[in-house]
Point group: C2
Chain length 84, copies 2
């Protein structure tokens, strides 16, 4: 892997992993007041489309990263709808 | 552009645009209680690395999408730090 590949892989790891502390905080505190419903609606559809894009291209890094991100974003969206 | 290109472009548009309602809601209400500091710390570094990755590859779609997303994520991170 080149340095550019490493930067891209680390970027993908961070943007995917970043939703773990949000999902955990929301699950633990049930505090969704500051979270935008519009954001998680658009974002969940967006990452689900990234997942479909990855499947159509059979691109495993895109499939793996966006399966995780779609799952986490969907959890946060469902908690936003249930806890408000 | 193929159908796959359109799906990828629309996915990129949605995941980028999704941070606009969050930034606007946070700016307007100053309510950051439900927002995870861990998420926006990791996410801002992650999208900034995506931007560097795009610059190194001279890939304009990656540069444009991640310039916008890095700006919006950084605004939300700064508001999280100031309004708590």
């Amino acid at each position: 892997m080149t340095l550019i590949d490493w930067i891209g892989s680390f970027a993908a790891f961070l943007t995917t992993a970043s939703f773990i502390p949000q999902a955990w905080q929301t699950f633990r505190t049930r505090d969704v007041s500051g979270i935008s419903l519009g954001m998680y609606s658009l974002f969940t559809v967006g990452v689900a489309l990234w997942l479909i894009y990855g499947i159509l291209l059979m691109a495993w890094p895109i499939i793996i990263a966006n399966t995780i991100t779609t799952s986490l974003a969907l959890m946060i969206l469902v908690m936003k709808l249930r806890y408000r």
